[in-house]
C-alpha cells in the first residue's frame, strides 16, 4: 500500500465511510508496524485542527483528576519514607519472620514514617485463651418466602426443602444451592440469605450464578428466575460470578442506590453502610452501573476497573479507577484481610465486621497506615498481638476494643 493510499483509508476510517475490506487492510498495516509515519502525519493534522477540540465534558476531566491524584498520593506516601529501601527491607524482615508467621497464621508488615526502624519482627504469641474471640466462619440465616428463618450453621447437609418448584440444598458447609424445578411457576417467591457479623456464605442461584456474601451482608432473590431478567438485591459486600444468559440480563440492586446490569461476568460490590463509598470492581466481562441516588448517571466498566459512588455527596460523579487493586478487593473471599496503604480506621472497620466487636478510638490515636495481609482465621487475641507488634495498642473489654494513643 502506498503512502497516499494509506492516508486515504485513514481519512475514510475517521469519517466512517470505510469498507470492511479497507478497514482490515488499514489495521493490518498498523499492526505490522509499516508506514506509521502516515498515521503520525494524520494525527499531527488533527492536533493542529481547532475543530477537533472541546469534546471532553467536565465529568471526564474531574474523573481523570481524581484518578491522577489518587496515584500521586500513593506515590508521595512512598517518597516520604524513601520507599523502595524501607519497603524492601521491611519485606525482607517480614519474610525472615515467615516461619513464625506461618505457625500463627499472621502475616503483616508495617509501613509508616514514625515507627519503622524500631519495629523488629517478634513472634506473635499464640495464646488462644478460653475468653478469646474466634474469627468469623460459615454462618448465615435463610429467610423463606413465608417469613420462616433457618439457621444454616445448625442445619444438616442435604435437602432443606422446597420453595415454589425449586429445591434448596445445603451442599457443603458454607454453601447453599438452589436447584430449579422442571415446572416454571407463575408466582414469584423471594428468599433472603443474610450473614451476621463474623459470618460468610456461598450461594448458588437457580441459574447457576454463584454469589459469595461477606460478613454482615444480605441478598434477596427469587427462588426461580421466571421473568425476563434476573434481579437480586444486596446489602453489604458480595462477590458475583454470574452465569451467562444473553436473554436475561442479571441486575443487582444495591440498597436502592446503585444498580449493576450484567450478562455474564465476575465482580465484587462493597456497599457497607459504614464505608463512605459504594465500590463495584469488575474482574471479568462487562457491566453497566447506574447511580440511582442521582439522575441515573451510568458508567460501563471494563475488567480491573472500579466504580466508586460517593454516598455522602450526590453531586460527585461516579469515579472510575483503572487498574483497581483486585487482590485487595478479593482478599476477603480468599481468606485474607489485605491492606494497601490502608488507614488504621479502615482496617478496624473490617475487624469489627469479622470478629463482631465494636472498636472505639480514644483521642490522639496514631495516624497509621498498613500494607500486607492477615489471614482471616486468626483468633482476635492473635490479631491484637500482631497489631501491638506494629505499635497499635488495643485494650479489650468484652466485645469492645479500645484503641489507645
Amino acid at each position: 500500500m502506498t503512502g497516499s493510499e494509506l492516508k486515504h483509508l485513514l481519512e475514510q476510517y475517521l469519517d466512517e465511510s470505510i469498507s470492511e475490506q479497507d478497514f482490515k487492510k488499514l489495521f493490518h498495516s498498523l499492526s505490522n508496524g509499516v508506514n506509521t509515519s502516515e498515521w503520525e502525519q494524520v494525527m499531527d493534522d488533527i492536533l493542529k485542527n481547532e475543530h477537533f477540540r472541546g469534546l471532553s465534558g467536565n465529568k471526564e476531566k474531574q474523573q481523570a483528576l481524581i484518578h491522577i491524584k489518587s496515584i500521586a498520593e500513593q506515590q508521595s506516601t512512598q517518597i516520604a519514607t524513601p520507599v523502595k529501601n524501607i519497603f524492601t527491607r521491611k519485606l525482607a524482615r517480614w519474610m525472615a519472620a515467615a516461619s513464625v508467621i506461618l505457625i500463627s497464621g499472621a502475616a503483616i508488615f508495617f509501613w509508616s514514617q514514625s515507627t519503622n526502624e524500631k519495629n523488629t519482627a517478634r513472634t506473635p504469641v499464640n495464646n488462644s485463651s478460653a475468653a478469646d474471640i474466634l474469627p468469623g466462619g460459615q454462618k448465615a440465616v435463610l429467610k423463606l418466602a413465608d417469613g420462616t428463618t433457618i439457621s444454616l450453621d445448625d442445619a444438616n447437609k442435604g435437602s432443606l426443602g422446597k420453595q415454589g418448584y425449586s429445591n434448596i440444598e445445603k451442599r457443603e458447609e458454607g454453601q447453599l444451592v438452589y436447584h430449579p424445578g422442571d415446572i416454571i411457576g407463575k408466582d414469584v417467591l423471594y428468599n433472603t440469605l443474610s450473614t451476621p457479623r463474623g459470618g460468610q456464605y456461598e450461594l448458588v442461584l437457580p441459574d447457576n450464578t454463584r454469589v459469595w456474601l461477606n460478613a454482615a451482608s444480605s441478598i434477596t432473590y427469587p427462588v426461580a428466575f421466571n421473568g425476563n431478567n434476573r434481579k437480586v438485591h444486596i446489602t453489604g459486600e458480595a462477590y458475583f460470578e454470574v452465569a451467562p444468559d444473553k436473554s436475561k440480563p442479571f441486575i443487582v440492586d444495591v440498597n436502592g442506590s446503585v444498580s449493576v446490569e450484567v450478562l455474564g461476568t465476575h465482580f465484587n460490590i462493597n456497599s457497607y453502610a459504614d464505608e463512605g463509598l459504594i465500590n463495584t470492581t469488575l474482574l471479568e466481562g462487562k457491566i453497566r452501573l447506574a447511580n440511582n441516588r442521582t439522575t441515573g448517571e451510568a458508567v460501563v466498566l471494563s475488567p480491573r476497573q472500579q466504580a466508586q459512588v460517593n454516598k455522602s455527596n450526590d453531586n460527585l460523579p461516579i469515579a472510575v479507577v483503572n487498574n483497581a487493586n483486585v487482590e485487595e478487593v478479593m482478599a476477603w473471599k480468599n481468606g485474607y484481610f489485605h491492606f494497601t496503604n490502608t488507614s488504621l480506621e479502615a482496617m478496624m472497620r473490617q475487624v469489627e465486621r469479622w470478629y463482631d466487636v465494636k472498636v472505639i478510638f480514644e483521642n490522639n490515636t496514631p495516624q497509621l497506615r498498613f500494607a500486607g495481609e492477615i489471614k482471616r482465621d486468626l483468633t482476635l487475641s492473635q490479631l491484637l498481638e500482631g497489631l501491638s507488634e506494629m505499635g497499635v495498642n488495643v485494650e479489650r473489654k468484652g466485645r469492645e476494643l479500645f484503641v489507645k494513643p
Partner: protein
C-alpha cells in the same frame, strides 16, 4: 481553557512540576486535558478508550516528571506520548475484533423498519435528538452526508465551504455523537438492542 497561562510561561511551569509542584501540574492539566481527550476520542472513536489513554498520559507526566527536565517542548512531548498510546491501543486488538468494535459503535441513521421493536425506535429517536445538539454547521454537514447521501463535493458547494472543512465537520460530529450516546448509556456493548440498531 488557558486560565493559567497568562501567569506563568510553560517552561517555568514544567520546571516547577519537575520539582514536584502540584499546582504547576494542575495548570498544565487544565491547559491540555481537553486537547488530549478530544484527540484520543477522534482517533479511537471510543469514549472509555479516550478516557483511559488521556488519564494514562497525565499520570505518566506526573509520575515520570523527572524525565521532563530534559524536555524543551512540553507540548510536543505530551502529544507524542498521546500518539504513542493511541497507536498502541489501536494495535492491541486483533483486526477482526477491532472491526467488530468499530461496527458496534458506528453511528448509523437507517430508518428502523416498520416492524422494528419499540426499543429500536426509541434508540433511533435518541440518535436524532443527539444530532440536534450539534453546532448548526456541523449538523448540516452531517445530515447532508448521512441522511441525504450527498458527497463531500456536493456539500461543499451547497454550504459554500471547503471540502476539507466538510470532512472536518463530519469527523467532529461523529466523535461528538459517539460520546453523547455513550454518556446516555446507549452505546453499550452488552445492550443487545443497541448493537442491532447501531450496526
Amino acid at each position: 481553557m488557558d486560565d493559567y497561562s497568562p501567569l506563568y510561561d510553560e517552561k517555568t511551569l514544567v520546571e516547577r512540576l519537575v520539582k514536584g509542584d502540584e499546582a504547576a501540574f494542575d495548570a498544565l492539566f487544565h491547559t491540555y486535558w481537553d486537547q488530549v481527550y478530544s484527540f484520543a476520542l477522534v482517533m479511537t472513536k471510543s469514549p472509555p478508550a479516550a478516557q483511559d489513554i488521556s488519564q494514562e498520559v497525565f499520570v505518566d507526566i506526573f509520575t515520570k516528571r523527572n524525565n521532563l527536565a530534559d524536555v524543551t517542548n512540553f507540548r510536543s512531548y505530551l502529544f507524542q506520548m498521546a500518539k504513542f498510546k493511541i497507536l498502541t491501543r489501536l494495535r492491541r486488538n486483533k483486526v477482526e475484533t477491532a472491526y467488530k468494535e468499530f461496527l458496534i459503535h458506528r453511528i448509523d441513521l437507517q430508518q428502523p423498519s416498520a416492524d422494528a421493536s419499540l426499543q429500536e425506535k426509541n434508540l433511533h429517536e435518541a440518535v436524532l435528538q443527539a444530532i440536534e445538539k450539534l453546532p448548526p454547521q456541523q449538523r448540516t454537514a452531517f445530515q447532508l452526508s448521512r441522511m441525504q447521501g450527498l458527497t463531500h463535493e456536493q456539500i461543499s458547494v451547497t454550504m459554500g465551504i471547503s471540502k476539507k472543512t466538510v470532512k472536518d465537520y463530519i469527523v467532529r460530529a461523529i466523535a461528538f455523537l459517539r460520546k453523547h450516546l455513550y454518556d446516555e448509556g446507549l452505546l453499550m456493548v452488552s445492550a443487545g438492542a443497541a448493537i442491532t440498531f447501531l450496526k
